[in-house]
Symmetry: C2
Subunit: 110 residues, 2 copies
Amino acid sequence: MDLNRKNHLDARAKVLKAMAHPTRLFIIEELAQEERYVCDLTDMIGADISTVSKHLSVLKQAGIVIDDKRGNQVFYRLRVPCILNFFGCVESVLESQAKAHSAILECPTR
Amino acid sequence: MDLNRKNHLDARAKVLKAMAHPTRLFIIEELAQEERYVCDLTDMIGADISTVSKHLSVLKQAGIVIDDKRGNQVFYRLRVPCILNFFGCVESVLESQAKAHSAILECPTR
DNA sequence: TCAGTGCTTGGCAATATAGCCAAATAGCCA
DNA sequence: TGGCTATTTGGCTATATTGCCAAGCACTGA
């Protein structure tokens, strides 16, 4: 396989991997509504604050969110607002699982 | 967090997780062109056939591909052809990493 | 029925991830 | 300065993932 292509696949896989966790998807959805600071998210998620902080750091590393320190709070927001457009097709996959096992599906029109 | 929402996040995370590997992204791209059988893909990827078979099984479990046995070959194809639409936004994330670190980006028009 | 091809599964070692607690850091305000 | 709040980092254990080899299974064709 072409090295250039390999690098590209690696880069895309990293972004997807960062998104591929329920807590991080939750964070992405919330940040799509409005920016939040860490304690905010921690209350909603109900995990240890250090756990939430680490999830945020994964998302930041992947370039999905950016942080903004104000006083002693750190606010996070989406760096790429379209990130949720993403899910039209994920939803199709999920619907397909609920349906007949061999069908090839139409794509959603968005 | 609402249990219903949690289940939904779990389900979406599973699909993303299945996609979040360079070899599996490669397979998805190839299958977007045309169906392939396992040896085909193995040659292109250059890993052990058992490794490729396991990647295919991950994609199948996630509902992303379906298999079709003909003779003693197994052909795979995408179950949800739109899966590649997915990447417009992933590309934005990648471009954003190449650019100024704090910018909020426009979404691609597709 | 037997050998050969194509694919999957089991088992293993190496590596990565998740989540908690405790400790460290940074900024605020008295 | 000292104490407080908000957040990150280090360290740990439990668990999951990856990729190889070897073994097994399914189909084909002589």
